[in-house]
Each structure stands twice: as C-alpha cells, then as structure tokens.
C-alpha cells in the first residue's frame, strides 16, 4: 500500500480501523451500554441495528464525545484514544450525519458549511475559500452541490448531500449515518447509496444506523445488532436474512409479511369531492382532491413528506378549512365541521406527531385515554369526572392492547414511543369509529409494536372499518393497503391497486411523474 492509497479523495488520511471495546455506559437505573464491542474498518459499511432504546444512539454519542463511557476503550488505528468532546471526535476524523438536517434554511450551502468553523481571515469571512473547497470536494465525490445555493431552495436529497459535504469539509474519514434516508424518496435513496458506496470504495469507513431492513441489505457489509444495551451479535450481511435480523433485534420470531385476508368492501364511508385548500400563507396545499374510502378497506396515501398528506388528514379531521369542494361521511355532508363534530360523527385520527398532537405528555395514561370523551358519559356526568370508570377504561385498554406502563397514573411521557402509540391506537379504536386516519402510525416505533399496530389495523379492516393509512414508509403502504393514492404537490398522481404496482413505479409517481396505469377507477 503506497502513500497515495492511504489518503482519501479529500486529501486526508483514512481511518484504517476504529474499535470500541467493552463499552459500558450507565444512566440512573438503566444500563444503556453493556460491554459493547463494535468496530469498523476503512472501505466498509457497518450497520448498527436495534430498536429504540437498544443503545444505538448512546454508543454513537460516546463515539462523538457527547457521553463518556464508564468502562471500555476506543482504539483508532490500534491506538487507544479518548474522545472528550465533539471537537475531539472531529479532530480524529469522525463525522456525523444526523437523522434531522442540521442546516440553517435561509443561509447558503457555503455559509452552512462555514458555520461554527474558524475563518482563515480572523474576523472577516472567508466564504470564497470555503466555496472553492466545497467545489473541490463535490467534484471528487460526485456530490453535485452548488455552494451558493440557499438551503431552503434545495430538495431534500440535495440537503442530505450538503450534510455529507459538511462532514467531509470538517475532515471526516469515518462517517456515522444516523437514519439518513428517513425523508428521501426511493430514487433519492438509490442515489445516496451510490454515493456511500463510492465513498467506501475510496477508503472511507461508514457506520450506518437504520431500522429499515431492506436498506441494511442493499448497502452494508456487516451488521451489529443491539438489544437492551447489549451487542447481540455481529454478522456478515450476506449471511443472514430479514427474518433472522428481525429476530435478533426483538429476541423472538417476528411476522414481517402481513397477509391481508380477502374482505368484501361495502358502503362508502368517507368521500372527498373536488377539495381545494390553502394554508395561512395563501399557498394551495390541496388541489381538486377527490377520493372514496369504503368500509373494510385500507387506503394508503403515499407521497414524499410535505406533499399534502397532512392537510388531507386535517381536512377530514375538521382541523383544516377547505376553500371549495365537499366532504361527506356516511353520505352526510360534513364540510366545514369542527373537530369535535367530526369526532362525534365517528372519525378517529392518529396524528402524525404523536407527542405534539396525539397526547398530553404530562397527563397520566388514564387522563390521556379520555382526551376526546372526557365530557361524555360514562366518563363524566358532564361536570364531575367519574374516576372509577376512567380507571377501568384505562385498565382495559392497557390490558387489551398490551401497553407496557408502570401504572395507569404514570405520566405518558415516561412510556416508550411504541407504547404511547399503542395507547393512542387503543383510544381511537375503542371509540368504535366509522373512519380511521392513521398518519405515520409506526414511525419511530419498535418492530414489536409495529407488528402489533399493523395487526390491529388489519383487524379493524376485517371488522369493516374504513382506514386511511398515511405513511412515508413505502413498504408499509404497499403491505397494508388495498389501494394506494399517490399525492404530489397536493394533487392525486394516481390511485392504484397495491398488488399491481412496484415500489419503483410508485417512486416515480411520488416524484411527480404520472404513469399510464395510474388510475384504476
């Protein structure tokens, strides 16, 4: 290996190997990292897989200098090092790409990259120097980023590339990628993976954190599974299958593929006719939207984040006014109904941002279980709450939906994401709704809870519930839905049968291309 081969395209030395040995990190009452061994080499993508709270982020924060481990050591190219701060970490050549973009929207790419770095000219900006270096990097890595572009004008995929440039600019030889695909279209994911693969071919080391199993298989060389703070095992990705990985994550066999038993759909429960809606800034967020949801079917709404999914849900929930068109529920005109009226008409809504819109964090589990129904019998006589009934109700939900909580009185913020989502689902289904809107019902939820939530949605389907499933996870949409409606810029790009379409075709429609087979009706 000659000298040239030891340098990365960015001109910096590579990290031949990084090893974490016997890492222990304790928090009061929790062993977040329990003698974990993990390593990554130059030219390899090593996946870190585990459910929420399994210890992935703790481990990566130790690597990034945000936490100090109680025990264990970190070896860089065989030499023990200590990382006391993110600055240390950067100096060793370790960079991070976070799940959420850490970019300032109204600054340019160059300004974002320069942010927090010392200028080479003291107090004066050196953006031209930064831009030149960015151009050099993007050329070498084929990243195609304009240093003068303002972030807010960039597409999501481009922003992700800016994050990579930022890390490279700071001298990252090893990159930690924390769920980098969460907000990308399938095509953008493919493009990104090409970049990642080129980077490892050039000698970078990558750590890839994801819970999307198919991505792990598409991209990584090795995978380490964490569970309850322990490293369950490290395997060659080619030596294992999805079911095997899922079982390692959860600790038991998991049903990944769901059978949708045939159901005869019946009457139209919800109907939208030529709905237009505008947001507060006067932008049109829904354009001439028409759809029907029938009893006994799950209709998936596919689309890239921000293409009208949320306005659609909120129009139906009565939270968003429409400027023209009609909304019908069970044949009755419910256009312009207030949220309470829609709830009383039989609508249940699992909102996308569950901590923000779905529950009140400081309320107890039982208080959260009656958010809609607190005024109604039997939970109150209109004035005084009936705590016995409320407790019984909560107890039943906890039992029926297998919600793990220390007690009914526990503030809901102390529950895990999956259990909070189960409570919301339980609350909404217990109301015996006519129509259910489930927005991102399994996002950030562990595999066990996802499995359970899916089963409940399918159970509702068999019982005749009309469900709208909004999800950015294409696998979920395709597996769960009978029909799929693709939204783009607030418009319907197509309504397709889920059995007759491929992810690639859906991806094209999500990107705004209308295919011939787009409308089945």
């Amino acid at each position: 290996m000659n000298d040239k081969n030891n340098l990365l395209p960015s001109g910096l030395p590579r990290i031949e190997s990084l090893e974490m040995r016997g890492i222990v990190k304790k928090f009061p009452g929790v062993l977040a990292s329990d003698h974990v061994d993990f390593d990554v080499k130059a030219g390899e993508i090593h996946a870190l897989l585990g459910e929420n709270g399994a210890g992935k982020s703790t481990l990566m924060k130790i690597l990034y200098g945000l936490y100090q481990p109680e025990e264990g050591e970190i070896l860089l190219n065989g030499e023990p090092i200590s990382i006391n701060s993110p600055t240390d970490s950067l100096n060793y050549g370790i960079g991070m790409i976070h799940q959420h973009f850490m970019l300032v929207d109204n600054l340019t790419v160059a300004e974002n990259v320069a942010l927090g770095l010392k200028s080479s000219r003291g107090l004066r900006l050196d953006l031209d120097v930064v831009s030149a270096r960015i151009l050099e990097l993007t050329e070498k890595y084929g990243l195609n980023v304009d240093p003068n572009a303002v972030i807010s004008k960039l597409a999501v995929g481009e922003r992700q590339r800016v994050e990579i440039v930022k890390a490279l600019y700071r001298g990252a030889a090893l990159l930690v990628l924390d769920e980098p695909t969460a907000v990308l279209t399938p095509q953008e994911v493919d493009d990104l993976f090409v970049i990642f693969k080129q980077m490892v071919a050039d000698g970078h080391a990558l750590i890839f954190i994801s819970h999307k199993l198919h991505e792990i298989f598409a991209l990584t060389d090795r995978v380490t599974v964490l569970r309850d703070g322990k490293a369950i095992g490290t395997v060659q990705t080619s030596d294992i299958d999805k079911e095997g990985l899922a079982a390692m994550m959860v600790g038991r066999e998991v049903v990944l593929t769901r059978e949708r038993p045939p159901v005869t759909v019946s009457e139209v429960r919800l109907k939208l006719e030529n709905v237009d809606a505008f947001n507060d800034d006067g932008q049109q967020i829904l354009k001439n939207l028409s759809m029907e949801i029938r009893s006994g079917e799950i209709v998936g709404i596919a689309g890239i984040s921000g293409n009208g999914q949320r306005p659609l849900a909120e129009v139906v929930a009565g939270l968003q006014k429409i400027s023209s068109g009609r909304v019908l529920m069970d044949g009755n005109d419910v256009t312009g109904f207030a949220p309470l009226q829609m709830i009383n008409a039989g609508l249940s809504y699992i909102p996308e941002e569950r901590m923000h819109d779905g529950v009140i964090k400081d309320f107890s589990v039982e208080e959260n279980a009656i958010l809609q129904d607190n005024v109604n019998a039997p939970f109150s006589n209109g004035i005084f709450l009936n705590f016995k009934v409320i407790s019984d109700h909560a107890r039943r939900l906890i039992q029926d939906f297998n919600i793990k909580t220390p007690s009914r009185e526990t503030p809901i913020k102390n529950l895990s994401g999956g259990n909070i989502q189960k409570l919301i689902l339980a609350r909404e289904l217990a109301r015996d709704p006519r129509v259910l809107i489930a927005a991102q019902p399994t996002r950030g939820v562990d595999i066990g809870a996802t499995e359970y939530i899916h089963a409940q949605l399918l159970k509702g389907r068999v019982e005749g519930l009309a469900t709208i499933l909004i999800s950015e996870d294409l696998d979920e949409v395709m597996a769960m839905s009978d029909r799929i409606i693709v939204l783009f810029h607030g418009q319907i790009m197509g309504i397709v049968n889920s059995d007759e379409i491929t992810a690639a075709e859906l991806g094209l429609m999500m990107a705004g291309e209308q295919s011939e087979s787009a409308f089945i009706e």
Binding site: G29, D280, G358
Partner: protein, 413 residues
Amino acid sequence: MKRQFFDRLIDALLPLFAILLAFAIGALFLLWQGVNPLEAYKAMIVGAFGNKNGLADTLVKAVPLMLVALGIAIAFRGGMINIGAEGQIIVGALFTSWVGLQLGGGLPGWFIIIIGLISGAFMGGIWGLIPGFLKAKLGVNEILSTIMMNQIAIQIGFFLLRGPMIDPAEVAAGTNIPQSARLERIADMPRFTDMAKWFGFTESAKNLGLEGFTKEIYGLFVDPTRFHSGFIFAVVMAVLVYILLWRTTIGYRIRAVGLNRHAARYAGMNVKQTMVMSMTLSGAFAGLAGAVEILGLHHRMFEPVAVSAGYGFAGIVAALFGKLHPLGIIPSSILFGGLLVGGDKMQRAMQIPQVLIVAILGLVVLFVVSTDYLVKKRQNRRVSVTDGDDDLAIVEKMKESLKEAGADEEVDA
C-alpha cells in the same frame, strides 16, 4: 428506590434552601448597613409569627394573597399568564363597595356580604375575560394586555372615588379625600373572634392565664384582632379550586389546553373558549380578593393602589411557591403574608430602610422562582434517561418553547 426518595426529598426541600440562601445574601446587605442580621431576622420571624397581633396580620395578608394565587394558578394551568391581578382586585373592590353601598336599608348582613362577594368576582372576571378574549381571538399577548388593564383599573378607581363614589362626608367636610363612604356595619364579614364565640370561645386569653406560644395562638380566638373570617373563606375556595381543577371536566379541559393546546384541539376541545374561561376564572378570584378586602378589612373603598397593595404581584409568587397547586397555595400564602408583615416589623425594629426590605423580599422571590426551574430540570433529567437522549430532549424542549412563542398567533380552532 432509595435514590428516588432522596431525589424527591431534595426537590421538596429546595425552595426552603432557596429562602435560606436569599436570607444569607440579604444578611450581607444588612451587615453592610451595620445591622446584626441575626437580630434583624429574629425581629422578622417573631414579628410575623411570634405573637398574636403579628400572627393576625400575617393571616390577614394571607387572605388576598391566597385568593389571587388561586386565580393565578388557574390561569397558569390553562397556559395563560395573568399579570393583571392588581387591576382585577381594584375593580372587584370598587364594584363590591358600590354594590354594598347601594344595598343598604334593612337587608340582612349575610345577604349583602354574599352579593358583595359575587359582585367582586363578577367584575374581576370581566377584567380577566377581556384580555383572555383578546388573546384567543386576536392573539394579543395577555401579559401586555393585563398590565394595561391594571392601569385602566387604577384610573377608573381614582375617577370614581373623586367623583361619583366619593364619601358625601368628605365633600361636606371639604377634605375631599378620594374614598367612598363606609359600608354598613351589618355587611362586615365576621371577625374571627366573633366566629369563635359561636363555638364557645369567650374568655380572654389573659383571664385564662395561658402562657407562651399557645397563649398567642389561643389569643387569636378570643382577643379582638383584625383577623377575619375571610381566611376561612379563602381556604374553602382553595379546596373548591382543587376540586375544579382535578375533579371536573372543566378543570380537565383547562389543564389539557394549558399543557398542550395542539393535542387539546386535535381532541376536539374548544381551545379558545377554554383560554377565555381560565382567564375569566383567574380574574374572578382576584376580584374576589378585592371584595374580601373591602368586606372583611377596609369596609370602604379608598386609593386603588393601596387596596390592591401589590397583592396582585405577590400572589404570583405565592402561587409559584405553592407549586401552582391550590392546596400548596394555602401554606405558601401564609408564608408570604408572614414575609410581608415580618419585613415591616424588621424595618421598624432595626431602623432599616424600606428599600432594603423590598430587596430582600425580591431576593426570596428570585431564588424561589429559580428553584422551580431547577426542580423541573432535575425531573426531566430523571425521566429522559431511558433513551439516553438527554441533549436531544433538551433540543426538543427548546424547539417546543420556540414553537409555543410563535404559536401565540396560530391558535386557530
């Protein structure tokens, strides 16, 4: 488990440490002024709690503090900040005395008292409803509007007391002091000793030969002081507010909207209506404080700012110190009443400038409020360990508070 208990204990004791710390810093000021801090603080504590008259004054001051603090707590629980209790006290006191003066002529005293209390609550409620409505409908910041409402109340008070409501005797005597006539004596809320008599406390403490501290306590029941039945009324109100907030659907909605108005809206609650309601209730309790001050203590309306006497602001601190919990507000109001009375006594006993007393009380407030923040932070740290996501949680919190700040404009239900 042990650790948890210890953590809780520290949380519970932190406010007391805060007070001690504030006193310690206050001691430096006192030393600088050449006053022995130990003697000064002794004068303060003895003055507030150590004898019958001091204790009576403390409890008298605790009454408006308690009522105001209850109102503040309701507003806070509903996600609203009511800085307008001063004005609400004033309009409550004004309306109570006006109604009381109109209702002479043979009506039973208890009837005038009840109508007087309702009047005060009503007018205070209106003074809370207006900023609540402005906030809900137009997004007007309630902190600003309630402060403005304070000024309006003060000026209306002066206007009425110099003109329509002035005591005819003042005009006749030519002194023209801006105050109303005295309400009829039958409309005085009973003094505590009068009530004690109903239960058979008749002998004066001296005659009973009681000594020491117990004598002072017992003296409250038998020897005439300013201590009046408004205290019992306020304590009953505290219990009622507790029931309102934690046992009724109205309280449930107020708390839901206060903690997360988005989730409340998604759940079909009428967020705007609830915001207006919590501000109205909040104002009503401050108005009630004004009414009780008139009916129980002053028996006439005079200079508005002297009637409200800063209770509208001190009540906020009492509410925070009582953890915004109606039952916590009872002791915290007594404590703050004691601080006010004790500060006064200390000033007189030690010849300390008034501003120094204000500074020391200010220190107490500052430290107590900071403790609250500290306790919350400690709790959050304990909660968020499961994911090891401390810093993320903090970022989320910051984002949320930013959103909340921006959300003022987008309360659209």
